[in-house]
Symmetry: none
Subunit: 213 residues, 4 copies
DNA sequence: CATGAATGAGGCTTCATTCAT
DNA sequence: GATGAATGAAGCCTCATTCAT
């Protein structure tokens, strides 16, 4: 036990302690950045405000991130990664494509509601343009999402679930818009629970708007 | 009398000429601003670049618009106004709500394709956040669009065309997302003609994704 | 007479006709410039506003004056010249220095009231500083005024009218401040007529503030 | 106890140190601004030059003052406040009004000589006109000065010290001009010491210019 | 001559980033 | 490591001046 406790004090563990603290702080920064970003958008989100919200100095931000752009990219990457893993899990389920898509929608709404969602919120944050856009497309797996969805819809067509007359591209595009429906921009929509929203959206998306005669 | 009428044209012509030139210049600026805006978004669109693209000096912009914000708002207002008029025309048609909604979608895609569309592109331009958002909501009739659509969908329900189980709010939200599908952000979508895009979107929106058994 | 009338049409006279018109317009501009200057001060007086107030275009101003600075200098010079002539007349009068100084004060107040006064109003217009100041001192005879006043006060001392214990410089300085008392800045002072103001100022200046026992 | 008291000084010292430096810097800026202002006047005083004169960058100015206007107003307010306090002290003295007025004049000259004077120098700085003027009148106690002086002169009349035939307004106006006599604009006047200037001015103001027979 | 649209230099201000303490 | 004062590039805007019509 003495050895053990001595070992704990050793550099590797000492650094892993520091590292843990560091990572915690990084997480705090990312959360604050997320909040400001959603409230103000990329261009009106200032490093000052992010730092102030975490309760640290501006300079400290730069000990964690090389630049504002970098901070944002890390943020996006992290959330994107988590979300894509989730999607991957859902995609490999045994259920129908229909069910899996509903599941994806639901998780989208939930993640937005929890304030941990980016892949789907880029447009809402003003990152879909200008110089930023290119770096986003390069470094962030929005493409990954599109690929996965494309695969899924194709599978649906192959299985005979979906109307083959509609191009997959269009299905994917519309589906992605549906994913971001529960955005932070339309407060009136946020009164619904993710589950209730899903019900209607799903009904509309799969069965159409028209009354069945 | 011919002579007389020709003479009468003189004075107005004089002022007309200058005014026409002025309006043409204004239109050129608005077009350039539109282009830059769509490419770079509001915050990265600099007055310098707009001026350069028109081929005039920065100062000249301020002979036509009293500030950057003003330029943007005029741009939005102008296009918005035209588009809302169009919607109003379509809305008063005799046809089914279904047909009228298709018509609206089609006009949306056309106007986006022509580069004269804003009501529907605000999100794509980064005006849906921060300080700007409030002024937009005050001054631009995005609300007007929502009201009109709400009315239309309610009429659809009353007429028995649409599924009354789906809340109108959700119908409207989704429809608005469909309107902006043909955005300038997704080049792959723009290979389709507005008419072809409409066909698939409409099929999906009204009849659903699922294969009819 | 015919000859005379023909002569009038001749170039020299023709030009003197044009010249008359030109001078009239120049006078109009100077008057407008004076008004704006007194209202807004030199730096907030814009060429635009001066032109607008005369009812001509901005470009036309430059047909009469080479620059804004020039316009101002001409204005000052003109009014200065007139005023200095007046002073010279007064100075050569036979009366006591006391009387002549009162006369000068009275004419100062009158000229300010009429809106034709500069020599005395430079400070009130913001021309007593910066780059402008040097040119003013070079080109405008504010020095001329000081010289004249100095001469007058010295004469007063020689004649035994004034207290020789007070340095002439100080007399002159104070007297110049008294001349600009009736400025456009203190509306409460302008309720008094020039004559009434003079009475009090003169009493104070010559006899002092104290109650005679 | 000594130790304790020394320890107590620690934490405050830490913040005191930075704060002191900050205040020193602020004071340096205000002094530079004062100098530029007196030399160039408000409109030709550029933030660039003020910064350059302090030896800091333009951006740093904005860490201390949020705008050019603010910088100027702070400058004026600070000096104004000090000066008005001084006046208040003098006003409550037991001596004759005559003596107190002399004292005020003397302090005016001294403060101008030291380069810490504004209440009295507004005209000399070009702040007596245009848009600025209103903010000055609102925020700066030039009115406060006039009120105090008015009170003082009325007291002088009541006490039987002053000539009641001269309106108080005029007394105040003239007195204020005398206060600014020792301005930075007339170098020839500055060769006199404040005390010597006072002697002559006072003699003239109270006893008049005329030689006593 | 008269016009007024166009110019461009110059001023104010913001904010991401750096660096001495 | 942490701080926050300092920097300076870059953006918006004004206005005296010019020039084609």
């Amino acid at each position: 036990m003495v050895t053990n406790s001595e070992l704990k004090k050793q550099p590797p563990k000492a650094s892993s302690l520091k590292e843990k603290q560091r990572e915690e702080r990084t997480a705090l920064i990312l959360q604050a950045a997320y909040d400001v970003l959603v409230e103000k958008g990329y261009y009106e989100a200032s490093m000052d405000e992010i730092a102030a919200r975490v309760g640290i100095s501006k300079g400290t931000l730069y000990l964690h991130f090389k630049s504002k752009e970098d901070l944002i990219f890390m943020l996006i990457e992290q959330e994107t990664g988590k979300f894509l893993s989730l999607i991957d899990q859902i995609m490999t389920a045994e259920s129908s494509v229909h069910d899996r898509l509903e599941h994806i929608l639901l998780e989208s709404y939930r993640s937005i509601q929890d304030g941990r969602q980016f892949l789907v919120a880029l447009r809402a944050i003003g990152l879909n343009q200008g110089a930023i856009r290119d770096r986003i497309e390069e470094q962030v797996s929005i493409i990954g999402l599109m690929e996965r969805l494309t695969r899924l819809f194709e599978e649906g067509k192959t299985r005979g679930e979906f109307d083959t007359a509609i191009p997959t591209t269009i299905m994917v595009s519309i589906f992605m818009r549906l994913m971001e429906l529960y955005s932070n921009e339309q407060p009136e929509m946020n009164d619904l629970s993710p589950e209730n929203l899903l019900k209607s959206v799903s009904q509309l998306f799969f069965h159409g708007l028209l009354k069945k005669s």
